[in-house]
């Protein structure tokens, strides 16, 4: 028998030796950047891609009329050379930059923009962005199949595009900077059919060189890119399926340049306390608020005193500590980076006595039982448990339901279903840096329908009117007045207390020492995790 044990050992050893890797890990990569992700990169079709991961990759392959100054939330012209807004604020006329070419060599025309926008609005495309463009005149008729084209999108000449809205919307230029408004070449879309998302052809700084499903996506620089000197990198390699803890080890061994999923939570404190590692971390803000929605149509949460009591019950500082201080406690709905954020507003204090008093006033001196939903990915169950304990301290007994994201989203969209939902892992990061993006999809009467993201089932007609008035202030000179309007609006909403704002997450991006460029590029509020066109190799 012993013979066989030895034979097995020898065989095992032989297998190990035969498999030893070739020498030379982490060799010089030249002007290439390696980024890791845990999940697959899904479609790169700008009309369809809508997760944070493919969002900024799409931005590097396609372009829109508008964009942002790298590292900021400041709008700039991009494929548009100039634009003009009509006096009634409803019509936008864009002059196109000339000589911009698609990756296939053809020049971009105004007709391409019309095609691209209509493609998003066409239900056959199944674009999640269609809703953003519903305000364009004739969009509804087109979507319903009653019109062959969208009457509000007019090609004036080869390089002039005019878009007319049903009513003014001050955020419209931001909407034209969304990926959904990026330009695609009709001939390539029709050639690739449903596979366009995997064979994308755009105008952007990079194009797809190689895509091995489940393993890697390689982008290569577009030599004809219209912005001179961009991009800095020759190639970007996205390695997918890499667990964040393993990606962290790979980075330390020099095999990887950027941790796409961020620093693994288990290593975060160690990294921030280690001077060598700390230097590799860029810190910034993002347009994020984590909150608990309070369903205003479920008893006893219908009573504003109860909702205010819940707001006073949660110890936000302790929750921030649980996530290793990766966030700042929130007092209000908008994040600090967002125009309209109110620095003088302090929100509800953490005051259990006051909370109990309010509950007693509302007729619940002994509290009540309710249900708190949460997404089941770490750290969300932990945060939800902390909230659960805080609510128990004022007598509110919340049963915890930690479920898959899709199930929570479904429950939130059903009337009268979910009393409380912790939004972490699902919402809300702004689509664009305008305060109305925190109103229309998640707090408005317009979104008060089954299946939307207004999980608080909140609707205040007066507030809605104020927002409509603010959105009519479209001229650049009115920006400050509009911001002030929004400060009032969000104060009014907080007094109705449909949410418990918990914290605003910060961004921490870890990159290898050989990568550089201004730090803001590594925590760009629009491009997550980093601005691929702008970051560069420095050594």
């Amino acid at each position: 028998m012993r013979r066989y044990g030895i034979a097995a050992a020898v065989a095992g050893l032989a297998l190990v030796l035969a498999c030893l890797p070739p020498p030379g890990f982490g060799q010089a990569r030249g002007n290439t950047m390696v980024v890791t992700f845990k999940d697959d990169v899904s479609t790169l079709d700008p009309a369809i891609g809508y997760d944070w991961q493919n969002w900024s990759i799409i931005k590097s392959i396609f372009d829109g009329l508008m964009d942002y100054e790298p590292g900021t939330t400041k709008l700039t012209l991009h494929l548009a050379e100039s634009y003009a807004i009509s006096a009634d604020g409803k019509t936008y006329t864009f002059r196109l930059r000339r000589g911009v070419k698609f990756h296939n060599g053809r020049e971009v025309t105004a007709q391409d923009f019309k095609y691209s926008l209509e493609r998003v609005l066409n239900p056959k495309t199944q674009s999640p962005g269609a809703g953003f463009f519903g305000g364009i005149s004739g969009a509804a008729a087109f979507s319903e199949g009653k019109a062959k084209e969208v009457s509000g999108i007019r090609v004036v000449d080869r390089s002039t595009l005019a878009i007319t809205l049903d009513k003014p919307n001050a955020a419209f230029l931001h909407i034209m900077a969304l990926n959904f408004a990026h330009v695609v070449p009709r001939e390539e879309v029709e050639k690739a059919g449903a596979d366009f998302g995997h064979k994308p052809v755009g105008t952007g700084a990079f194009r797809v060189k190689e895509w091995v499903l489940g393993q890697r996506l390689v982008l290569v620089r577009n030599r004809d890119y219209f912005l001179r000197g961009r991009p800095y990198l020759d190639e970007i390699v996205f390695q997918v399926g890499v667990e964040p803890n393993v990606a962290f080890l790979k980075l330390q061994r020099g095999e990887v340049d950027v941790l796409g999923d961020g620093i693994p939570p288990a290593e975060f404190v160690k990294v921030m306390n280690d001077p060598t590692l700390r230097r590799l971390v860029a810190v910034g803000d993002q347009l994020h608020t984590g909150y608990v929605t309070i369903n205003t149509q479920v008893s006893p949460l219908t009573d504003v005193r109860v909702r205010r009591a819940l707001n006073m019950a949660v110890d936000k500082a302790r929750i921030v500590r649980i996530i290793n201080n990766r966030a700042v406690p929130a007092t209000q709905i908008l994040p600090p980076l967002m125009p309209g954020y109110d620095r003088s507003y302090t929100g509800y204090p953490f005051d259990r006595e006051q909370a109990k008093k309010l509950l007693a006033e509302a007729g619940y001196p002994n509290g009540f039982a309710t249900v708190l939903y949460a997404n089941n990915t770490d750290p969300n169950p932990r945060i939800a448990q902390a909230i659960q304990q805080d609510l128990a301290a004022i007598g509110v007994r919340a049963e915890l339901k930690t479920l898959a994201q899709s199930t929570v989203i479904e429950a939130g969209g059903q009337k009268g279903q979910a009393p409380l939902i912790w939004s972490g892992g699902m919402a809300w990061i702004a689509d664009y840096p305008d305060p109305n993006d925190f109103y229309w999809p998640i707090l408005s009467c317009a979104a008060l329908a089954p299946g939307t993201w207004n999980w608080a089932w909140y609707c205040n007609r007066q507030v809605e009117q104020l927002v409509e008035q603010a959105d009519a202030l479209v001229q650049p000179a009115q920006a400050a007045a509009r911001e002030e309007r929004f400060r009032q609006i969000y104060r009014a909403i907080m007094s109705d207390a449909p949410w418990i704002p918990i914290f605003h997450e910060k961004r921490y991006t870890m990159h290898s020492a050989r990568m550089g460029g201004p730090e803001v590029l590594w925590v760009d509020p629009i491009h997550i995790p980093v601005h691929y066109d702008e970051v560069r190799v420095v050594k």
């Binding site: 803890n245 693994p264 939570p265 288990a266 290593e267 404190v269 160690k270 921030m272 306390n273 302790r318 500590r321 649980i322 996530i323 290793n324 201080n325 089941n376 770490d378 750290p379 169950p381 932990r382 939800a384 448990q385 902390a386 659960q388 304990q389 049963e399 915890l400 339901k401 930690t402 479920l403 898959a404 199930t407």
Partner: protein, 320 residues
């Protein structure tokens, strides 16, 4: 599928001689059939086995801890202490106020382990036991009766095997009010298939051995053949599944909890503690180490006791 004995296998070297006459049958039966002799009592034999005593000790302690949890636990297992985390939000290592340290929410790990014993016993022993019983029953029936019954049973196990347990779990979690019963149900549904498959193959083989054939020929009732002649040979396999299964079932329960089926946070369970802190094992090894050791010790103890019991009950093994 129709499985038939292949007739005389006597041509093969080492195989026992073919059974030809009634006297041969009787002789074979006497020689090979397990006979359960009662005295001295199996229990006394177990008692003489030190390893088994150790196992009994551990099981007794775990059971006592589960029952007496409210009196034994130093703290409320759900209480999140603000000073249970460092200012940076790290859990505290063992020592001082929290003997076994704290978890990622600043809760006392010792108290959570004490309360967690309840879930572990229920899931690891009860749910796993149910899976064992179903698997053994179906596997034996399929292997012994063969014919269309056997075919139907085994194709049914194939189907259950191919069935995505994960999706079932998510669906159940969302549709029903989650409870330990659903966990037990899902676990039993997933686990019995394996046991049935392995028992089936063993019964196929043992069923062809001479002593069974002989017993059949002598007209011994089926129930008696199964219980007296077949079952003792399956016992070792069942024991392996029954004990190793405790560990895997407890971990499976943790996975189900993650999907929203089963115990709700903040209810503590050993598997759940490992599950939520496993990526921290380099930074906070106690969070994986202590519950891991508890699971290991419990399943090992059941194995020691089971081993000893089997030896005591199974005359074939005795003294060899």
């Amino acid at each position: 599928m129709n499985v038939r004995p292949a007739g005389g296998a006597s041509g093969r070297a080492g195989a026992p001689p073919a059974v030809t006459s009634p006297s041969d049958v009787v002789r074979t039966l006497r020689a090979a059939a397990p006979r359960v002799r009662v005295p001295p009592s199996p229990w006394s034999r177990v008692r003489r086995n030190r390893a088994a005593l150790f196992g009994i000790g551990v099981i007794t302690v775990v059971t006592a801890v589960a029952v007496l949890a409210p009196w034994l636990a130093p703290y409320d297992p759900a209480q999140q202490f603000t000073d249970g985390l460092t200012a940076e939000g790290r859990p505290l290592p063992p020592g001082g106020r929290f003997w076994l340290g704290t978890d990622l929410l600043g809760r006392d790990l010792l108290s959570r382990l004490i309360y967690g014993a309840r879930i572990t016993l229920l899931i690891g022993v009860a749910a796993n036991g149910a899976a064992l019983a179903i698997g053994a029953l179906l596997g034996t029936a399929a292997g012994y009766f063969r014919g269309w019954v056997g075919t139907a049973f085994m194709r049914f196990t194939d189907m259950m095997m191919a069935f995505p347990a994960l999706i079932l779990a998510i669906a159940l979690a969302a549709i029903l009010r989650p409870s330990l019963w659903i966990v037990a149900l899902v676990i039993a549904m997933v686990n019995w298939v394996w046991i049935a498959r392995v028992i089936y193959s063993q019964v196929l083989s043992i069923g062809q051995r001479e002593f069974i054939e002989a017993a059949r020929a002598l007209g011994v009732p089926t129930r008696r053949i199964l219980a007296r002649h077949l079952f003792p040979h399956l016992l070792p396999t069942l024991l392996v599944w029954g004990t190793l299964g405790i560990s895997t079932t407890v971990m499976f329960e943790a996975a189900l909890s993650f999907l929203g089926v089963g115990v709700r946070p903040p209810t503590p369970s050993w598997g759940g503690t490992i599950n939520e802190s496993q990526s921290y094992f380099l930074e906070a090894p106690w969070l994986v180490g202590f519950p891991g050791a508890a699971i290991l010790l419990t399943s090992l103890s059941f194995n020691l006791v089971g081993d000893a019991l089997r030896d005591a009950l199974d005359p074939q093994m005795r003294g060899r």
